[in-house]
């Protein structure tokens, strides 16, 4: 659906992205991950036809972004970092305007506007001025705007930035509900967002792709297949920590303050054995948590590695 080849963009002499290559298949939900200033927004903007690359090419549904921008833009719904809404318009009027602008067939405008109002849960505020809405609602209007032409591709640039936790979770479930209907590229530096929604992750740093894989593949690759188990007990923490090292499958035990960190091989068997051992020791197990190497760790590993090079 989206093919990016050798994409580079420089602002003056400062390179923003350098030789990006990736493809996104139809129906995929791709997380585009990177620290601030990694070149995420630049890439998004080039894919949407907002700006031209310095070199390289982008094809969306077979159309070159630079040669055929109108055809590409017809197929993309874009939510930039700041939702592009007119604060002095009413929600419904605004969506009608966008639908007309995006060339939705005249007889379908009303139906499409209503559909996007419903999808984003804006029905109750459709008659209000956008300027009077909260940040969360404005963000939703921004999403409704991207959805109103029912595009094949949705590009969302940091859709949850600046929202309160409740709004963030609402936004996330909203995005989740869009899965399967559109090809989605979700750019963010917030990791749980990716964990919640995406099948594939592209991590970008300093303008280069540092990893491109499925979520599980990525964590397997980075951790070498291991698990880390945190154990919290009420009594005898030191004694338990010492004996744990002898359990089959345990590679390393670290007794650190409030809890014990146990690193074991990737099998569930070893986790089971650790649990059984702690319970049998009668130390009063209060908490046991299995952590596959979290995306956060991968992210930090990959992005800091790049910087030290």
């Amino acid at each position: 659906m989206i093919e990016v080849k050798d994409l580079s963009k420089t602002y003056g002499d400062r390179p923003a992205i350098r030789g990006l290559n990736f493809t996104v298949q139809k129906g995929e939900v791709v997380g585009f991950l990177g620290p601030n200033g990694a070149g995420k927004s630049t890439t998004m903007k080039i894919i949407t036809g907002y700006m031209a690359p310095s070199s390289g090419e982008v094809k969306v549904a077979g159309f070159d972004v630079f040669e055929d921008p109108i055809e590409v833009k017809r197929r993309i719904g874009y939510l930039p970092e700041t939702p592009p809404v007119y604060t002095d318009m009413y929600v419904k009027d605004f969506l009608r305007f966008v639908a007309n602008l995006k060339g939705v067939p005249r007889d379908k405008v009303t139906a499409m506007v209503n559909a996007s109002l419903e999808k984003t849960g804006l029905g109750d505020v459709q008659g209000r001025l956008i300027g009077n809405l909260s940040k969360g609602f404005r963000q939703r209007v921004g999403l409704a705007q991207a959805l109103v032409s029912d595009p094949e591709i949705l590009i969302l640039d940091e859709p949850t930035v600046g929202l309160d936790p409740k709004q963030v979770s609402e936004m996330r479930s909203l995005i989740k509900s869009l899965k399967g209907q559109h090809t989605i590229i979700l750019s963010t530096h917030i990791l749980p967002e990716v964990q919640a929604n995406c099948e594939k992750v592209i991590i970008i740093n300093g303008g280069r792709i540092v990893a491109e894989d499925s979520l599980s593949g990525l964590s397997k690759r980075m951790s070498g297949g291991g698990h880390s188990v945190t154990v919290k007990v009420r009594r005898n923490q030191d004694a338990v920590a010492k004996t744990l090292a002898a359990v089959a499958g345990v590679l390393r035990v670290k007794n650190s303050g409030n809890f014990i960190e146990v690193e074991c091989d990737g099998s569930e068997d070893s986790v089971e054995k650790v649990a059984a051992h702690v319970v049998a020791s009668g130390a009063g197990l209060v908490e046991l948590q299995v952590q596959a190497l979290a995306l956060e760790d991968i992210f930090i590993k990959l992005t800091s590695k790049e910087l030290t090079h």
Binding site: Y50, P80, V98, N100, L101, Q145
Partner: protein
């Protein structure tokens, strides 16, 4: 085509419902009312004085009243039009809604033309208000309609030129304030370009500058002479500035 009218419709509604427009048109009508009625009363007084039996008096409503009214409209428009057009693109940039326009399937030409039509529409409402003065005068005096219509065609064209200029100014900056000032300066430059006309030792340059004189072409219309060269002149000025705006909008794609 549809994109142009969608954009124009939205911006026109936006302009016509903004408090700014009401303040501007309110103040304009106060000024016009004051000086128009004064001119009209003076004209009535004078014509009574000169009205001797068997003498026409040589008085002409068009020249004595309407000309004054229209040059006042023009003077006001130099300042007022940039204030109306200042937000057309600058505000889009400032509010980041420019992103929406640039990622929608519309061309830079659609954007420039849509915005231009919206601006011209709003100014034309103001022109319509000013036209009512002359129209209402018809209730008390009889005068030929054709020269007045020609003069108003001139007003619409000259306001179109100002809108083009204002739109271009607005496309250059994110700041609404700067957009007004730029528009104002460009407008004044348009008027002053013909200052060099009448240079004796360079007849060629003088002729060119005279052709480029906004005032001269406008005067043709006011005097009731619809000349093709004047029509072409206004069309080129408007075309030039809409084209420049289109280039600026387009440039954000490859800059």
């Amino acid at each position: 085509m549809r994109a142009i009218f969608t954009l124009a419709g939205k911006d026109l509604r936006n302009l016509l419902t903004s408090p700014m427009f009401y303040v501007v048109s309110g103040l304009c009508s106060v000024l016009w009312s004051y000086s128009y009625i004064r001119a009209l009363l003076m004209f009535a007084e004078k014509s009574r004085m000169y009205m001797q039996p068997g003498q026409d008096g040589g008085m002409n409503l068009q020249r004595e009243v309407f000309l004054m009214h229209i040059s006042q409209i023009n003077l006001l428009y130099v300042f007022v039009v940039p204030a109306l057009t200042m937000r057309l693109l600058a505000e889009e940039k400032r509010m980041r809604t420019y992103d929406l326009l640039l990622t929608s399937p519309v061309s830079a030409t659609d954007i420039a033309l849509g915005k231009f039509l919206a601006g011209l529409g709003a100014v034309s409402v103001l022109t319509g208000i000013s036209f009512m003065y002359s129209l209402l005068t018809r209730m008390v005096a009889d005068y030929p309609m054709a020269p007045l219509l020609s003069a108003y065609a001139g007003v619409v064209l000259v306001s179109g030129a100002y809108v083009g200029v204002g739109l271009f100014a607005s496309s250059l900056t994110e700041s609404v304030m700067l957009s007004v000032i730029l528009g104002l300066i460009f407008n004044i430059m348009l008027w002053f370009i013909s200052q060099g006309a009448g240079t004796e030792n360079m007849p060629m340059l003088s002729a060119v500058l005279e052709y480029m004189s906004l005032g001269q072409h406008f005067l043709n219309f006011i005097m009731g002479a619809v000349k093709l060269s004047s029509l072409v002149f206004f069309a080129s000025v408007i075309g030039l500035f809409v084209f420049l705006t289109q280039r600026v909008v387009e440039s954000s794609r490859w800059r």
